[in-house]
Symmetry: C2
Subunit: 341 residues, 2 copies
DNA sequence: CTGTTAGCGCGTTCAC
DNA sequence: GTGAACGCGCTAACAG
């Protein structure tokens, strides 16, 4: 086994004090630079600590301080594509600030979520970030939680909570405006599950942008599931019924990949003959397609970082506000809408 | 803001005791079912606890018990595809056992890793799982860590450590044996970066299986990068130079997708004319290709769960052994090697 | 059955 | 400049 369990239990402050021949209090001061300690004894203490590879017990310290320097990350489903960037952003922001992150995966189960919440409170986390898997509102954890809570990606259904979520409406606008700027006017929309708020919001944004230009979608928006297969099938129908279309706005990169595939099969050249734009900027998909996929990036890592920052602020006593904040998204232009040279 | 900070700080045991009109010790016993407490007073305490929504302070409890009920998950790069299933498996296994997980992402930086390690030790985690992003051996954290350490995916380079890693050699064998069972005999190999141990191990396994059948690879194994683009390019070269091949063993699902794409372009029908097998069983890729992709699954979630179990055992004082253990992989058969009906 | 006492490891007054 | 004493929230021994 990789450790000497029985051997050296982690050294304690009194071990250090004893080895340095001083009292516990002096050792503490020396190590933390508090109070006035004679340079000689300070170095003696530091040497002792080094020799024992002393690491202060954060629990004991937290007990005194009343805060633990930990936060909880309560996710509803780790598997999702959207969790990871948010997680990374949050972990990164916290890591820099000396706080550590408890990861809890509720796996879409409310019971398990409640269980984990209890555990986090029992660990006296200083704050909690709740990360949902969709942008649809989710049940609030309630108002009687003794630490600040920020909802990321999936907003809380209680307006008194603070939620950060990507601006899908703006994303829809951005996509259409880009297509218009590319000179396209006959635009269709293929998206995923219509029960997702994301699907509806993106569509609404798209329609608004079209209306501003005095245009409409070609045909009805097509909804089914967030899969490549659906993208292929939808594109086949679409290009059969409306061969005049010159652009497709897809509700996800997966769908866009499917559309690209069918376009290829039908000898519609992308982007000259048909422009295709995806959503999510999932690089695995966007960078490996032919041509590479223009897409909308929700800046999720940024979102995670901001959620962390809000929790920080709240811990420091700053009022972080409430309500659902829609964070800006970003257009990433690649070869599926503008020909590369 | 979503919480009433200033208002109700988390209730403490003495709050409960006071409200129930008993001593702190009695309250503790009543809540934990320890010692003999009169039924009447017990209910009184429970009611008080309920009313104050009392949650025991895990830190204070840990201080006494000498263990915190937490473990550290030290990852080298959250972004990677392989982290998530391992993470999920571990979080799942621990969550069931009342222990919580500290997530630390070193982002491939040794300094940051050292920093996080220090933080974890300071938090007095009961154990640590180190998750690497490749199967190549990584530097050991050392032998003088006061808690058990298990390495997952990337094994430690010190044989005294315990490491769990997928059996890539067996995976290579499995892939070839399946192709042979399908009646294929002219098999080529397209893989990713040859600097990866994974690439070399899979190739070695493949060669062993071929040799057992008195066969050899057609052409030289082709190495470059783990991308779809490379899969496309490699397949074009391969099918040009060796049109007689009847199967391709790919080093990853991404590469396999590229190979499928080129096969389609060149009118080679899969699987009749050409069988293709991938690696990783990345469902996003494997289930969305045409036809769906046969692949090797490394059972990563299982690996995460086992790593957690080992840590559990070590905490309970069980000797968990040492050395690098190669965990079994699994063949997932789909339409790219056997025609669907 | 219940309350008192003694710490777990640490930081912080306050005397010396 | 240094050390003794107290308390953070809790549990485990004892007394009563």
């Amino acid at each position: 086994m990789s450790s000497n369990d029985s051997a050296s239990r982690a050294a304690t402050l009194s071990d250090v004090a004893q080895r340095a021949g001083v009292s516990i209090a002096t050792a503490s001061k020396a190590l933390n630079g508090r109070g006035d300690v004679a340079p000689a004894t300070r170095t003696r203490v530091l040497e002792a600590a080094e020799a024992l590879s002393f690491t202060p017990n954060a629990m004991a310290r937290g007990l005194l301080a009343g805060r633990t320097g930990t936060v909880g990350l309560l996710t509803s489903d780790l598997e999702g594509r959207f969790m990871i960037p948010i997680l990374m952003g949050a972990e990164d922001a916290f890591g820099a600030g000396q706080v550590n992150v408890f990861l809890c995966d509720a796996r879409g189960d409310a019971i398990r979520e409640q269980h984990h919440l209890k555990a986090l409170l029992s660990r006296r986390v200083d704050g909690i970030i709740v990360v949902g898997r969709q942008t649809d509102p989710r049940p609030s954890l309630g108002q009687d939680i003794p630490v600040p809570v920020v909802y990321a990606y999936a907003p809380s259904d209680d307006a008194r909570d603070l939620s950060l979520t990507p601006d899908n409406y703006a994303g829809g606008r951005l996509a259409i405006e880009h297509l218009l700027a590319c000179g396209r006017t006959r635009i269709a929309h293929v998206s995923g599950d219509p029960a997702y708020a994301a699907a509806q919001d993106r569509l609404a944004g798209a329609r608004a942008a079209l209306e501003s230009a005095g245009l409409e979608l070609i045909g009805q928006p097509m909804f089914s599931e967030w899969s490549e297969q659906w993208g292929r099938d939808a594109a086949a129908m679409l290009l059969g019924q409306h061969p005049e279309i010159d652009a497709v706005f897809c509700g996800s990169d997966q769908i866009a990949r499917g559309v690209l595939d069918t376009a290829r099969d039908l000898d519609r050249s992308v982007p000259d003959d048909l422009a295709v734009i995806g959503y999510d900027n999932w690089e695995l998909l966007a960078l490996n397609s032919r041509p590479e996929l223009t897409s909308i990036d929700a800046n999720l890592q940024q979102l995670g970082r901001q959620a962390a920052q809000r929790v920080f602020d709240a811990i420091d006593g700053v009022d972080i506000g409430e309500g659902t904040h829609h964070l800006p998204v970003r257009l990433v232009i690649r070869g599926s809408t503008i020909a590369r040279r």
